[in-house]
Symmetry: C2
Subunit: 376 residues, 2 copies
C-alpha cells in the first residue's frame, strides 16, 4: 500500500475525511447554522474543498499565511481568528486587494480597535470586524453583553467605513476539559448565550450584527440548539485524533490522519521498537493522555488496516527517534527492522504542522499528494 | 530593531552564535578531537559555515533532507545518525552521486547491516558505515565491545566494497538527566570507554576502525579527556536554550535564538498578556521545566536587550496563542497591545523546526534572513 514512500510521512484517508465532512455538514444543517470550517488543522486547499462540498463558502484561518493561501486559491470570505495588530494590516490589505477576498478580523480591546482603525484609514483599506467575547475559557474576548463590548463597537464604528462591525464571535475552548456529553452540552449553551446576548445588546444600541459566530467541535456536536447563532467554526472534526477520541468525540475509525513510520531498530534493553518518527514527526503534544494515559505520543497500528497493534504506543520521543516498548522480543520477528507501522496522532493540528504535504489514501492506494501551507 | 517584521519570527543573534561556535571549537582543540557539528538543530548552511569557521569539514545530520541540502551546498563528509533502512538507500545514493558527497550511516543490527548491504549491491553504491554502540541511554546501539558488535562488523565487511566499516559511534543522550558537572563528567568517561573499547575490539579482529565518534554537548563540555576518541558530535551548543541553561550548560546570555512575538491581547481574568506565539511558534516541549519549573513554554524578555521581564513566562499555549500571566494590570500599560517581546525557547531544536528561516541580528540590526531546511 505504501511501497516507495520514504518515512516519516503524513497519511490522510480520503474516505474517512469525506465521511467526517458530510457528518458535520449534516449536523450544522440540523442546527440551522452555517458551517465556517476552521482550516488551521488541515491548511490544505484540497481538504477545504471537501469540507465545503466542492464550494468556496466562508472559512476560518489562524494565520495570515493561511489567509493568503486560501485567498489565492479563490476563497473570498475568510475569518482570521487570531487578534490582529496594526503591524499586520498592510499584509492583510495586500491579500484582499491581490485576490479580491474579504478578511474578517477579531478584536477584543477598545484601544486596539482604534489603533487598527487608524492603520486601516492610512492604508485606505476596508475590513470587517467581529468582536470576540469570552464565554469562560479566559483566553481572549471581552465580557459578554457588557458595556466594554459596546465601547469596542463604538470604537469600530468610529472608523467606518474602514472598519465595519460585522458581528460577534466566541470560542468555548474549555469544552476540551470534559469527556462526557452533559457538561459539554451545558457549555454549548453558555457559549450560545454569550454570543447571542452580546449580539442582542449591540443591536439594541443600533449595530446590526449580522454574524453571530460560535465554535468548537465538541460544543457543535452536543449543543441542544443554536438559536440566534448564525455560524459555527469547527476544524478538528475533519481529521479527528486521539485527543478527541479520548474525550468521546469520535470513534477510532473516524481518525483520518496518521503518521507512516518505519521500524529502524530493535532495542533489547527494554525491549522496544525504535521508529523513525520522533518529536518532530509526531509533535510533543500529549493532550490525549489526560483521559487516555496509554496514548503516549501516539498509538501504533498496522500500516494497512490501521488497527491497533496490541497496546503498543510511542512512549519516548527524541528529535527523530520514537521508542515503542513491546511486551517481549517476539515482537521483533513480527515487526522486523524495515517494516512499517502507522501511528494515530495525539493532536492532529500539531502533528500535521510538521509536514509539507499529505499522502492521500484513496481506495487502498496512496498515489496522490496534497500540499499544505505552514508558517505565518 | 524589529520594525517591519511580522511576528512570530525566529531571531538568531549572530554574535552569540559566533561566540558559541568559537568556544566549542576551542574546547575540541583542547580535547584533541575533530568537531563534527550536529546540524539537526540549526539546519542552515549559514550556521554550518560559522560552526566550521568558514570551512566544509565533517558534519552530522538527522534526516536525509538535511543530508541532501548540505551536500548540494558543497559539504562532502556527512554522517547521518538516524539508523538507515534499505528503502531509503536509493535516495542516499542519489545524494552521493549528484553532489559528490560521501554519506556515513549508522547501524546497530546484524540483519539490518546485511539488508543494507544487499540494497547497496543492487544499487551499485558505496557507503561508509559506523556501528552504533549503546553507552547506557538504551535508545539505540549494540552492547559495547561485545560479540554482537563483531557480528555486525562481519556482516558489514561481507558487503565490501559496497559497505565500508568506517568505525564506531555512541551517544550519551542520558547526560541530559543531570544539572551538575560530576555525574556528567562520569558519564563522559562511560561514553568514551564504550566507544574506545568497541574500536579496540574491532581492531583486534582485523577491522581498522578509523572513526571513534562520541557526542552530546554536555559530555563534550565536561569530559576530563577523550583519549582514543577521534571526533565529537554536538549541536545544541550553537544556539543553547532553556533546557541547557536549566542544566547549567550555558549562561543565559549565551542563548542565541529567541522567538519575536507581539502582544495581541490583555486578558483581565487572570490577568494575562496574550501573545501571537503559541504551540506552533514555541513547540510544546517543556524539557527545561525539570530543573527550571518557572520556564513554562518559554521566558518572556525585552525585545531589544533580551533581558527577562520580571519572571514572566508563557504558561499556556494554544495553536497560535500563548498566555503570559502578569502579577497585576500595570503590566498592560508597560506592554500595550501591539508591543513586542522576545521569548527564550525551551528546546531550540523543536522551536526552530517550525520556521523556514532565521531573522539574523547583527550589530543591533535584523536585516538579514537565512533559510533553513525542514521535513524529511
Amino acid at each position: 500500500m505504501f511501497e516507495g514512500l520514504e518515512t516519516p510521512r503524513l497519511i490522510l484517508d480520503a474516505e474517512r475525511l469525506e465521511r467526517n465532512a458530510v457528518h458535520m455538514r449534516n449536523r450544522c444543517a440540523e442546527l440551522g447554522v452555517t458551517l465556517r470550517p476552521h482550516l488551521k488543522t488541515a491548511k490544505s486547499i484540497d481538504v477545504a474543498r471537501i469540507a465545503a462540498d466542492g464550494g468556496q463558502g466562508p472559512i476560518t484561518v489562524s494565520t495570515l499565511a493561511e489567509a493568503e493561501y486560501f485567498a489565492a486559491a479563490g476563497w473570498r470570505n475568510i475569518l482570521y481568528t487570531t487578534a490582529i495588530v496594526p503591524a499586520k494590516l498592510a499584509r492583510a490589505d495586500r491579500i484582499q486587494r491581490a485576490h479580491g477576498a474579504r478578511l474578517l478580523f477579531v478584536v477584543d480591546d477598545r484601544d486596539a480597535a482604534t489603533a487598527i482603525g487608524k492603520a486601516a484609514v492610512s492604508l485606505g483599506a476596508r475590513f470587517g470586524v467581529l468582536i470576540e467575547v469570552d464565554c469562560g475559557e479566559h483566553r481572549s474576548g471581552v465580557e459578554p453583553a457588557s458595556e466594554a463590548l459596546v465601547a469596542i463597537a463604538d470604537a469600530i464604528h468610529a472608523c467606518a467605513p474602514h472598519l465595519e462591525l460585522t458581528g460577534v464571535m466566541t470560542h468555548a475552548g474549555h469544552s476540551y476539559a470534559f469527556d462526557e456529553p452533559a457538561p459539554i452540552r451545558a457549555l454549548a449553551e453558555v457559549e450560545r448565550q454569550a454570543a447571542v446576548a452580546s449580539a442582542e445588546l449591540l443591536r439594541a444600541r443600533g449595530y446590526p450584527c449580522p454574524i453571530v459566530s460560535v465554535g468548537s467541535t465538541p460544543t457543535t456536536l452536543f449543543a441542544e440548539h443554536l438559536s440566534g447563532v448564525t455560524e459555527v467554526r469547527a476544524g478538528i472534526y475533519l481529521f479527528w485524533d486521539l485527543s478527541q477520541l479520548s474525550r468521546g468525540m469520535c470513534a477510532e475509525d473516524d481518525i483520518a490522519v496518521s503518521v507512516l513510520a518505519t521500524v529502524i531498530g530493535h532495542q533489547h534493553s527494554g525491549p522496544s521498537l525504535i521508529l523513525d518518527a520522533g518529536a518532530l514527526a509526531l509533535s510533543k503534544d500529549i493532550g490525549a493522555n489526560r483521559f487516555m494515559p496509554e496514548a503516549g505520543y501516539g498509538l501504533v497500528c498496522d500500516p494497512v488496516t490501521l488497527e491497533r497493534l496490541g497496546s503498543l504506543a510511542v512512549t519516548t520521543v527524541h528529535q527523530e527517534h520514537g521508542a515503542v516498548p513491546v511486551p517481549d522480543e517476539s515482537w521483533f520477528a513480527r515487526l522486523p527492522i524495515g517494516s512499517m507501522v502507522r501511528i494515530l496522532p495525539n493532536h492532529a493540528c500539531l502533528t500535521c504542522a510538521a509536514y509539507a504535504s499529505y499522502n492521500v489514501l484513496h481506495a487502498g492506494k496512496a498515489t496522490e499528494e496534497w500540499p499544505r501551507i505552514g508558517g505565518w
